[in-house]
Amino acid sequence: MDVSRPGKGRLRVAVTGASGEYGKLLLPLLERDSDVESILVLDVARPEGDKVDFHRVDLTRHDAEAELTDALTDQPVDALYHLAFLFGPIRNGSLAHELEVIGTMNVLTAAGRARLPRLVVPSLTAVYGARGNNPALLREDSPLQGCPNSRFVTDKVEVEGQVRAFRERHPDMRVLVLRFAPVLGPTIENPVTRLLTRTAVVPTLLGYDPLWQGIHEEDAGRALHQALRADASGEFNIVGRGVLPLSGLIRQAGARPLPLPGPLFRGALHTLDVVGADMLPVALLDYIHYSWVADGRRAETALGFTPFHHVRDAAAALRRS
């Protein structure tokens, strides 16, 4: 599958979910990349860009798979980025599930039919789950314990399962799963940035200060872009340099930690959850209790990705925005 190698000609790249958070990071880099000839966008909205070749596909529709297959076989592409994941506040849980799990299923089926040489899927380090039995640094082969309380994380774990099965069925394809630490940056919106910037005071658990990681949005974009050419396959932890305790992350982001005693906090969260206020997801409890630090060494050696920014700077970028 040397078609995807640079220097062997111009690259054609397909992207789903180009208007999402990851798409916004990746598309400008692809536009600037002189090796990329055109970007086939498979989405419901057309993004800006000179190289963009828009093809409207709604991944939540039942006939999405056929449309995708048509689009991908019409003009063969060198790589497909499947970036259609939600990071905004999820009001409609079933729609999110439909898009992420069923959408991914459609994409994978189409990719298998079109025999794409390369597929890139983003994921989260949160899929490892924050548990008391985590080692200090989680490697890519650590079990994905997820977070049973969070649909957001559970869906990602399910997607990872699908992608792994797909990779095993298609050993000739390069399938890269990039597990991103929380992406932080002025233009990014995800649960973590919302947690850090929405209020001036962020509740934490009294007596606990787990280690968190983060990655600057520029680094995240670069990692996605690097996956276009990397001579590797499999999962990679994409994390920024260094770690911060949660309180340090909150401070760097310009807010203040408010430690609450565990039982009180838990009760309050569950009550809020029952009432339906989406102040804080219950799922967060794990992540503010135990450390979940992923080891980024494999991305450095196999993917050739080195983060430029320390988590500190990434969090500080959040404050400046």
Partner: protein, 673 residues
Amino acid sequence: MAKGVLGNDPFQRGAAQRDGERARPEDKAEPSAKGSPSKPRAKSPGADAPRAHAQGKTSRVARAGRSKSASGPSRAATKDARTRAAKGTASPPPPKPPAPPRHATATRREKEPSEGAPPRRSATSQPPRPAASPRKAGVSSHAPTDGHGVEPAPGGMEHLREPAASTVAPTPVTTNEGTPRTERQREVDHALAEAVAAEVAETTARLAVDEALERRPGKEDAVERLLATELTTELAEAAAEEALDHSPTTERPEAERELAAAVAARVAESAAELAVSEVMDHAPRGGPPTASDERAPFSRGARRGEADVGDDAVEAETPDLEATYLEAEVEVADPTRDELPSHARRSLTLVPPTSDSDEDPTLHAPHASRAPEAARPLAERATGMLALARDIAGQALASEGIGRALGAMNGLVDAVRAGLGTGGGAHLDEYGKDPSLVRRLEPVLEFLYGQYWRVTTQCIEQVPRGAAILVANHSGALPYDGLVMSLALTRERPDLREARWLVEDQVFHAPVLGTLFNRLGAVRACPENALRLLDEHRPVVVFPEGYQALSKPFAERYRLKRFGRGGFVKLALRTGAPIVPVAIVGSEETSPMLGRLPASFLGLPFVPLTPLGPVPLPAKWSIRFGEPISMEGVPAEAADDLGEVQRLTERTREAIQGMLHALLKERRSVFAG
């Protein structure tokens, strides 16, 4: 303050000395211009030589850089000094001085400290040395020759200069290893610190006096300069000695030296103004003899006779003077007085630990009886000066002590905040250790390790370099043993990589305690973490007994529990890292478990009931390191052989239990050791 700034850095002293030596030939070229009738000071080359020698060759680079940067200004300063000196010789040396105006100086003394000292102090808050260094070369180059121009009796000067030279020379190596300092070593340190202080005092005094003289237009005179300098130097030295004697003896001679130098520099600067005014006021009537008179009260006993020869006119005035003096500054006199009995000792450590002020009246008596034969007004002035010096030294000392206490307090507060989860450090390593927090806590840890627990280690040199698994007994309701082990290894074996200790989940995930331990370097006990740490060639401290050792009642102290499932042996077999058995005695008594409070509502199995809560008891700790058990010859596959694992586990366990028994037998008292 940086070390170099205070002049206790041998390299820096070397730099300054070098400049002086370089500049000296120029001065010698025209000794007549200086109007110094006598030969250049005989003592100074001899005194300087060993010092320069002691600095060693390694300082050459630093010296070169510094002297280059300093050479420009220093030349100018030398020239400046020379012209001034020439001017000074134009006027003939003043005749023998009558009694100086005492009342004027008395008022001045009261005024000066209030108006002169505070701005000074603010100036000294920034490092004094860098500002001074360009000028220093010039100053030190002309001072020795000047000194001889006016000092007819060489014996007098010798006393002042000697300490710096004679003490620095025999101890060229001032680096301090982590070994405990013996009494003898401490003496040397003390002497060294004083020597440093003397030198700093001298230099700073010169600079300050020069500055002060420049501020007074017109009446510049080499003699006055010298007098003022000497006066200031004496004051500063006395103050530094006193500060040293008052300060608690530390294990760290650098700190002592730094303190001495700081005090000396500060006092010298503050006193310079006063000294200059003092000298200026009576210089018109006084001449070279004043020098000896003026110094008499401060100088060592050998010179008292000399001072006695001083003028009788002064002596006549003494009684009433004495009275006023007594009222005015009762507590002031001891520094002068203290010097008198110690004249047998030549130069160093002349001031014995000084008394409190309430002792003063009684101790003042001998001084009074002796005083009439000395120059009274001068003595009074001198005591005034010394009072000032003492005040300043006291303040410096207080600020030092308070600073240390505040530092420790801040460290503790930071630690508590880190434990509660609001600390927010920004420079953690991937395991969660916060080196900056450890640094801020250093005073507390130092106190705990050195003074509170008095940790002693035996055979610590047995710990091999590189990856090693230190297996120790676990004990105490609050497991301080891991922390103490890591402290011991960093202190006694700085050649090893930073050690980490593994902590069982029950402690690691305990609120506050677990978080705090994590920031201090604890790592959660699991094979992945241990492998990673060993791959980094660190010594890893493990407590295979785990949580059951912590929850056992006090009656079962020092009785080893089951050694887990032999995880550490498997680890050693897989990595080839040797196992070092370690026995720790003292940890059981540090936080004995008196009972358990149920705390399931906190998510904890129980909260231990200890005598002082989280505060440990001051039991004496001793740690013995055993013979390493090498894994050579045992194949890595043996990790799967349960029998082999069991055998090695038992061997380690027996080694530890044996050492524990030995240590317990040697121990006479739990708290005294």
